[in-house]
Symmetry: C2
Subunit: 205 residues, 2 copies
């Protein structure tokens, strides 16, 4: 793509670094911003820089937060003894949207993936183990492993469960129930999911 200006080219290059944004979309975004008022564009840029300068990571769960400790970890209403381990911030939001979970979280920031060069030391695993061992900010009775069911997620689940057991503090380790989604017909469910559903069947209520 031949752009008529270096300044425009730089902006397009930066915008196309966003996930899933190609050169064509980046150009559309840039030309949209060119048409906006300078004050509006400055606000836009400030909001983005704010993500690095003003946004905190919660000291305990590493979720994004406006304060040092996030509202979930500091809430009196949450059961701090139950910690749900998730891959990222979006997973916390998805679980919060269900309004079914009253425990707290631990955001790993990824999963172990040797191919991508992500090892245990790159994730918030040490802080999870300390959290369980030192009962800080609260005694942890249950850890729910809610990582994705990919090879990397399974590996990470396995690694975490082993490390947690090695602590020998008697913490209960659980994982999310997997099965046919509500509303789905059995005919179209994949075999592995349907198989799990029948093996891990639960009492009818």
């Amino acid at each position: 793509m031949n752009l008529p200006s270096k300044i425009l080219e730089q902006a397009v290059e930066q915008l196309s670094l966003l996930p899933g944004v190609g050169k064509r979309s980046a150009l559309r975004y840039a030309l949209h911003l060119v048409k906006e008022d300078e004050m509006r564009v400055r606000e836009f840029a400030e909001a983005i820089v704010g993500l690095k300068t003003q946004l905190h990571r919660c000291r305990y769960c590493h979720n994004v937060s406006d304060s040092e400790v996030c509202p979930i970890c500091s809430s009196e209403k949450r059961q701090r003894g139950i910690v749900c381990v998730v891959e990222n911030v979006q997973d916390v939001m998805a679980l919060e949207n269900t309004q079914q979970y009253k425990g707290v979280y631990h955001v790993l920031g990824g999963v172990i993936s040797p191919i991508d060069g992500v090892g245990p030391a790159d994730l918030e695993i040490g802080s999870l183990l300390r959290r369980v061992q030192e009962s800080e900010p609260a005694k942890v009775e249950e850890v729910i492993l809610a990582l994705p069911t990919t090879m990397e997620g399974d590996t990470t689940n396995f690694y975490l469960s082993r490390q947690l057991r090695l602590l020998d503090v008697g913490v209960k380790i659980t994982t999310l129930a997997r099965g046919v989604a509500i509303g789905d017909s059995l005919e179209y469910a994949d075999e592995i999911t349907l198989g799990r559903s029948i093996v891990h069947r639960i009492p009818f209520e």
Copy 2:
């Protein structure tokens, strides 16, 4: 969408003002930026602010440019007597990519659209008429109307052609050839395009 942080919310709101970007994509972009180095994010923001503070509009053709007069208008190799009127910067880029056009451009910045509140005064029409009347930066011999074939584009073409004729400087007014695209079969061409192709047939070479 319940976001865990006001700062994140602000960034998502700003990012979702980009054309075609919804809240979900904006969140993905924001969380991607959260993971980046602060320096990288500052560069990103600076490139965007640069669109307003450093980017020029060419004095003659109103295309985006790093200098007061764009490389096309200042090139000795272009025929300055032929001015192609286009809606926006992307159209200039599309025509330049063909490497078939040796004239110069005039970027209107939109088309007349009463529904969207865009009148002739909101577009670079006055400067086009002055350019033709005052022969500045060069005597204009031909104006090519290359606006989109929408109702708004046609209206604008009609308005421009009338205004240009009123100047009474004998400028030639042309428009792009429309017809069945190269490689397309007649069977699947739309009727209006095919009709135009047969009416405006050209000598076989």
